[in-house]
Symmetry: C2
């Protein structure tokens, strides 16, 4: 009899992070592992002994399919960075004490850069102490900024939502342009990497002109030059659409959104909440050019809109989850499962594993040669890379006209934990 | 041989306004009318002789189906109010000169309150002058604020998008709540009528708690009381979700968004652009309660997200368009087609016609007894009224992973018009 598996989710969720969770659960069961535990709220909740037996929540194939269609982190998430081992051993002692108590053989963590740092540290500690558990990272992030993998699960669905919404916003703006020029500025997530912002260009096609201007955070942003570009476009056309990353900065290194008086807010942890870039720029354009403007911030929905998930993305996320279990079952530890692009046309991908030490804390940004010379659009190479990832639909299960989700928030399941924080 | 039909679109578009256009076109052809013209940008464009022959753009059944799935106003829209007849006859003389020149028998205008005012005035003028054309109004508005009709085409799809997005936003927020309470404020369109804001409550069900607080523009909003309600909720739960109308006002009659420094902007016509209500309130909550907040404005997508249209809504919009042609063909003029709810359960509806003089410029708001006593939620009666309207999906035609739209912007069709404004 094999031992137990524990899986956690960490960092910002995606539309398909639960598809990876479903993949972990299914493969673990199929490969004969005993229990599959879920940490509640990642390693942070686990340290508080917050965990559940996933079998109590995924009771049949329908639950599994619902889970694949449920956005956000089913298990809850956290933003919690483990201390360096030499700084504070006690945290590690606590974690391994719990892992031993639960007879955990495999530890899987679904997350982005910070989460891979957690896998790296736990692996290092296990090496130092000769602990038997195996640690595998499962990639996820809408930002697509993880190294060593062709792309990350979560990115494709976010890109599909952004391209669709951009198309609909452009369509709407076109209808309003008679004798009344209008400028629309759409703000997209991605503080340092412009993958999602660039994906807005996918809206361009036979039935849509796409955005006119796209500004990625990889390059310095010049407000005056931007206004000038808009002005030039307005001489030729009635509707101008610019897409900007929330993370664009001016030459002095300041985020553009820091200029936005009302919107510069910090969260409880001192992180600046990036918001207000589009709104600020719309104000500048309106003041300088006097035309009608509209700022649209796609906000949380970029990572939560499971109703428009990409089938490729849901399937890959599921496969990547299963591949984590397989890797651990075959004895691998300290690795992250990655996606390899086997073929571009037709698009085919496969999973592989890579040393997590080569991945953690490295941020993959859009290469300069995938941005045009003027620095205000992405190239065809960029689009060829992204386009396969938004293909296909994973239709929501509609109940009473709305997508149904799997949830544990509203039901009184048998909590294993001793100190459920909601009580 | 019957004469010609002309149809225009006016005011803010919806996800299904083009489904009504498709209905007008199809029924006009089936009933043996000769040409079906489309005014470009409503009566404003028509006065500039901007019109097209719809047969050049809807060439087959596939085009018709694409049109039903295309958001925004296919023909372009306008916000143009006709002068009173006694004030300026020349505009009317010009319109009827054009109608006669084009041998128009039936004039159909798809729009909201202002558009019905146009139908009313043109009918009145035709009565005064003995003109033979018949004028029929086709209702549309996401705001659902038209009198005499059970509801308006466009409302159901916007409600479905809002309820789905609210559900996804709540799901996302729940995942983040571990030892970090968060308050989410969602801003919904509807300046004076709270139909759309209330529809966010549809998200509540077996798998979602729904919003905690809902504030409609029908009632005075008290910022301090709001903060107090949020504080009370935070004592019991980790995630608080409030949904507010963009049009809520404080006791002094000022819009809440007018307090939002950066966001109080006026468009070229002096209308205040309603935006920033959620952002302002999030700032107040963060300052007073010190917790993490997030403001989400659903913005343009509420009226443009055809990818999540309600089947009931698309079908009704199509039928209402056809019923306009039928009414005119049967000799009616000065009427608007309305929707009558024949049965609640199972939901059934039918079209009827009503005198446009009883409809124009009247605004239907949410009745006080459909809002709870505390003024911070809608009642079950409200939900029973809205729920049938979001049922069923009208799946987009997906091409390369994105919804395909019918458009005339990118192709060189044979323009009838003499002075196409884009040239």
């Amino acid at each position: 009899m094999k031992g137990n598996v524990i899986v956690g989710q960490s960092g910002g969720p995606t539309a398909v992070i639960n598809s990876s969770l479903a993949g972990v659960f299914k493969t673990a069961k199929e490969r004969g592992f005993n229990k599959v535990y879920g940490m509640r709220n990642g390693i942070q909740g686990f340290l508080d002994e917050q965990y559940i037996d996933l079998s109590n929540h995924i009771k049949n194939e329908l639950d599994l399919e619902l889970l694949k269609r449920t956005p956000s982190a089913f298990l809850g998430t956290c933003r919690y960075k483990l201390p360096d081992i030499h700084e504070d051993k006690s945290v590690y002692e606590r974690i391994f004490e719990l892992l031993n108590k639960l007879e955990i053989e495999v530890f899987i963590y679904i997350g982005g850069n910070d989460s891979m740092d957690t896998i790296k540290k736990l692996t290092d500690y296990s090496m130092l102490t000769g602990a038997k558990q195996r640690f595998v990272g499962c990639p996820k992030t809408i930002d697509n900024d993880l190294a060593m993998t062709d792309h990350t699960p979560g990115f494709g669905s976010a890109a599909k939502y952004i391209a669709t919404s951009t198309k609909e916003i452009i369509c709407d703006a076109m209808g309003f342009s008679y004798k009344k020029k209008n400028v629309n500025i759409i703000e997209i997530m991605g503080r340092n990497a412009g993958w999602l912002t660039g994906a807005a260009a996918l809206s361009r096609g036979e039935d849509c002109e796409g955005p006119d201007l796209i500004y990625l955070p990889e390059l310095t942003f010049d407000v005056d030059k931007f206004v000038e570009s808009v002005q030039k476009l307005l001489e030729k056309k009635d509707v101008v659409v610019a897409v900007v990353s929330e993370g664009i900065r001016t030459a002095d290194g300041r985020y553009v959104c820091e200029n936005s008086s009302g919107s510069e807010t910090k969260d409880a942890f001192g992180h600046i909440q990036m918001t207000g870039t589009a709104s600020y720029l719309a104000g500048v354009v309106q003041k300088k050019l006097g035309c009608k403007t509209r700022a649209v911030e796609l906000s949380t929905l970029q990572r939560a809109a499971a109703h428009l998930a990409s089938k490729i993305d849901v399937d890959e996320a599921f496969n990547v989850g299963g591949a984590c279990v397989k890797a651990a079952d075959e004895g691998r530890t300290g690795v992250m499962v990655v996606i390899v692009r086997v073929s571009d046309d037709p698009y085919q991908s496969a999973t592989d594993v890579n040393d997590v030490h080569r991945i953690a804390n490295d941020e993959k940004v859009v290469p300069r040669n995938w941005i045009n010379k003027a620095g205000n659009y992405v190239t065809e190479e960029f689009l060829d890379y992204v386009r396969p990832l938004i293909q296909g639909q994973y239709s929501p299960m509609m109940v009473e006209g709305l997508p149904r989700h799997l949830t544990m928030h509203l039901k009184n399941y048998d909590w294993i934990t001793h100190n459920h924080h909601n009580k």
